[in-house]
Symmetry: C2
Subunit: 344 residues, 2 copies
Amino acid sequence: MSIPKANILLIGSGGVGTIAALNLEAGQLAHVTAVLRSNYQAVLSNGFNITSCDHGVLKGWKPTTITNLIRETTPESPKYDYIVCTTKVITDCPPSTVDLIKPAVTPGHTVIVLIQNGLNIEKPYLAAFPETIVLSGISMIDSHEVSPGVIEHGSADDLVIGAFRNPNLDVGAEAAAAERFVRLYSAAGKTKCIFGPDVAYSRWRKLVLNACLNPICALTGLDTGRIRLAGDAVEMLVRPAMEEIRAAARSVGVDLPEDVCEKVIEAYPVTMYLPPSMLEDVWKGNLVEVESIVGEPLRVGRANGVAMPTLSVLYNLLKGVQWRTKEKRGLIEIPAQGSDVADS
Amino acid sequence: MSIPKANILLIGSGGVGTIAALNLEAGQLAHVTAVLRSNYQAVLSNGFNITSCDHGVLKGWKPTTITNLIRETTPESPKYDYIVCTTKVITDCPPSTVDLIKPAVTPGHTVIVLIQNGLNIEKPYLAAFPETIVLSGISMIDSHEVSPGVIEHGSADDLVIGAFRNPNLDVGAEAAAAERFVRLYSAAGKTKCIFGPDVAYSRWRKLVLNACLNPICALTGLDTGRIRLAGDAVEMLVRPAMEEIRAAARSVGVDLPEDVCEKVIEAYPVTMYLPPSMLEDVWKGNLVEVESIVGEPLRVGRANGVAMPTLSVLYNLLKGVQWRTKEKRGLIEIPAQGSDVADS
């Protein structure tokens, strides 16, 4: 008996999303409809050109379907089993992905998978879709879209899937949905994808890296190697920020081991000069995940009385950078030069 | 009886220094030898082209002498009465201005005038020239070298001169040297130059601006207007940093008034979009005055038990920016990519 393939809608087909699509299709248990935006025309014409440590070199590869529009599902059209979001979480700027995927969600059927960093990112989904299972994906992958449709994937895909707790739903059903997704994702045998039920742990563990190294590198222009070479930047900035995250995690009952900061720091060799994604985004003039990655853990820690002086300054500086990016992109208008100055 | 003109050596003829030279020469009580570096060829060929709110438009103006070399003074050559330094204070990178001016200093005669921001900048001069009077100049001037030899001077020159205390010398002689310089500088009648004996007060007062707004703007890319428009950046970053400086000043007996932070913030209208010099320098890839403007007040405050969490993060981020600038300028070499990674 042949099992029908899972019907997956992918939102965000950049470095992370395209490798997810490729991996899901390669496993032959799913077909993927990828919703493309900035790279739609390029991929429509030429497909994806992928150089992947897991999948080799692919020229002109396309998932089952590509589209630049999310269509309303009708009683006749197949329901989506999973909607996988791999976009950046820019909560301080519309449109929200929640609004975007609304037409494609079948309540009680579709499972949403957020392969995204940061804290409390599930909240708007649980609010908008109270009967929907929402899964957490924490991905460690060095994959980048270097130009529209061109993906360079340099180090092994490592994905931890769990379920965000939805109090309206059965915890067993949530776990089952997560475990099914792990099976779909693992079917190609190319990647490490595991079920990690302790979602809070996975997400705070990743924040030790993201909430600290990302803003520090983005603000200084230093990459992962240079930050280790640049005087006492690790001791004076990176480690204090990481310890603040660890303290904030502890304040919500997530006990990260004492050596977690050291391990995260040591994971990046001194001479691997990798710009974290947030630094790349600042270079490119893109918006950054300032609220989900930095603002939320700061608010959580502070609400529990944790002193977070380093994170607080990083957060507020990064908000300044974000404001400037929005202005450059025409999302903020400023008064004309001199318009509030009295004639003299 | 005609009084011989004061013989002045000027180190650093950019935005601030060139207007100082022009002003001193215009007063006709001094002639100026300007030591030029990056703009030497341009000024040698074309002179300075100056648009000044105080002095009007000057094409091809030159001080009495321009040179690209500081010559040893000999018994025959005229001694310098004043050596005026208007360069940036980059203490974390050679050469030091102290070493540079050594050949031109006549001990017991020459007076050194540091028209420069920051704290403890006189220390290396007092150490190298124990019999020399060293004056403090705190300048508020909106003057910029927009290209080599081209100076745009937009708002009135405002200079406070005092004497750094040299315990080997008579305090009256120090004050007299300061007052004489004020006379030379004021003679043209174009500028506000006053004798301000409380040097510590003047310098900490200026740091409320420089130690805070400069690094915050340099790190975020926001200028003086935009920092006020950008959400709560003033409340969350600028004002806390300024209050830390005020607390550090208080810890060394300098009582800045309670409304000083407000006054400094309000001095920049919301719609005057002026990039602070440190932001301009970051844009241009220049080194910045991280130690004299940020590091020193931080060290002074901390040594006196003042909590300075905001300044500390700003300082360490700025050191990261400085490190990267040094690397870009070839002053730091980094190991080759992958050279510390084991073969796999």
